[in-house]
């Protein structure tokens, strides 16, 4: 198997996804509005500094956008009967999944970059550090992989996956220190450790306010670990569900 050749085919899948699912006005606008609304809903009326809130907004924006469209690609392709054509080409399943992840990752990074700029220019927050840049890219991959894992059940109904997605994503936002520091969770703090979002929020908070629960290295390693886990699980589960899609 030609690895580079398969990577090129992944990029063809990415391009296809971007044209079909992402590069559309309503998708981009909702990608910005959705995390912003959630942020406003939780931030208004609470006496919290921007240095605490901005990392939360960034992590939530990256998490919500990088895992928003990816989950519906497989059920949509199943329903539209394009999936069989795709898998009958000489492209491996991992390359198809990686292509979907790349598209999702790019969308997440684009929206997060937009929030970076607003935070720096309008709010005067200083957020650039090498570990945060690296962590943002790794986290985007991790969250996109989670989205692809969620899309593995062999349904042709995108709304089924959307429901599953909401059931997984929203609880993760609440347990990951986005709005409430995980130290305030008392005995339930350990739950936050199973969420990859915890480590990205911690990394962002460390880069902006200098306070964190873990060292940046731990955050990065945890994000890499979750990425490998989600990506591998997505491949295995999609492989199992593939024949049930037709």
């Amino acid at each position: 198997m030609n690895f580079i050749g398969q990577l090129r085919k992944s990029l063809a899948v990415t391009k296809k996804d971007l044209f079909i699912f992402y590069l559309k006005g309503p998708v981009v606008i909702s990608g910005i509005l959705m995390p912003s609304f959630l942020f406003v809903a939780f931030a208004v009326g609470r006496n919290l500094s921007f240095n605490f809130l901005i990392p939360g907004l960034m992590s939530m924006a990256l998490f919500v956008t990088a895992s928003s469209i990816g989950p519906v690609v497989a059920p949509w392709e199943t329903r539209m009967r394009t999936f069989e054509r795709l898998v009958s080409a000489p492209v491996t399943l991992w390359a198809i999944i990686l292509g979907d992840i790349f598209a999702s990752l790019m969308f997440g990074l684009f929206i997060t970059f937009f929030i970076f700029i607003i935070s720096i220019v309008l709010l005067g927050v200083e957020i650039i550090s090498l570990s945060l840049v690296a962590g943002t890219i790794i986290a985007a991959f991790c969250f996109s992989s989670l989205g692809l894992l969620i899309s593995a059940p062999p349904t042709d109904n995108p709304s089924n996956i959307m429901m599953l997605q909401s059931m997984i994503k929203f609880p993760l936002i609440f347990i990951s220190g986005v709005f409430v520091p995980i130290d305030n969770m008392g005995n339930w703090k350990f739950i936050s450790y199973i969420s990859p979002l915890t480590y990205y929020t911690d990394l962002a908070r460390n880069s902006i306010s200098g306070t964190s629960n873990f060292s940046p290295i731990i955050d990065l390693l945890a994000l890499i670990g979750f990425s490998i886990l989600f990506f591998t699980a997505a491949i295995v589960w999609h492989k199992k569900s593939l024949t049930k899609r037709f």
Binding site: K9, K16, R81, S88, P90
Partner: protein, 305 residues
Amino acid sequence: MYSIEVRDLTKNFNGFKAVDKISFMIKSGELFGLLGPNGAGKTTTIRMLTGIFKPTSGTALVGEYDIQKNPLEAKQFMGIVPEMANAYVDLSAFRNLLLMGELYGIRKKEIMEKAEILLKLFGLYERRNNKVKTFSKGMKQRLIVAMGLINDPKILFLDEPTSGLDVESVRLIRDLIKDFNSKGTTVILTTHNIEEANQLCDRVAIMNHGRIVAIDSPEKLKSTFQSTASIEVAFDKEVKAEELLFGDVVTEVKKVGDKLRLYSRRTGEVIPLLAKYSDSIGSKIISINTIAPNLEDVFVRLTKE
């Protein structure tokens, strides 16, 4: 030399045998038809041959590659038009072809050239930049077949390629299938359109309940079932069907519109008997035709058993 060698290929779905130990070989350059009623196992067979389904047991060599062991290599020189497949409706015809070319690892310049040729060949060039969602069903299917040809396949799998299409698209697709086949492409066509198989295929395999019940050229299959030869006769007045059995010369009499169809292995003997019978009852024969067995008769006979 064979393009495809299938041995004891079996596929079970939760205990149900969709394909049951089928074996056949397809010569290079052959136009081979898989014929059968819905649920016979045709599409499952194609999906195993194209590496989408993993067989429960058995082997399939496609070209020189075992489809299970080297699926990517085998797929590289296959063209596939899956049943009920769709193009990406939010992309243009050209972008669909470009995507397929990229998935086959073809260089961009080459894809552009091939895409242009295929779009012209399938009568879609003028609409190349329009989104596929604006296409008619026939245009979409023509594009889907074109997408299956972007890699100049040596083996082309077509699963019900003309199902439900307008006459113009059916003719165009059939002509192009014949054309590609005449240039050396091995074609495997699944269809439940018997006439299509009769017109196009060098050989057909008739499948039923996951098994191959007959495999041969359409003409040989027809001649195997001489008992389905028949005579269609119309009298100027009503006659009793049972009186036309002539002992055991005629095996079955069916009413077909205002005519009677007499099935017999000895059609030569039936005509004088009919003339004699019509004289005996004071009737005249208005029309009489001998009908050779057709592939549909063979198909019905085999799939009924």
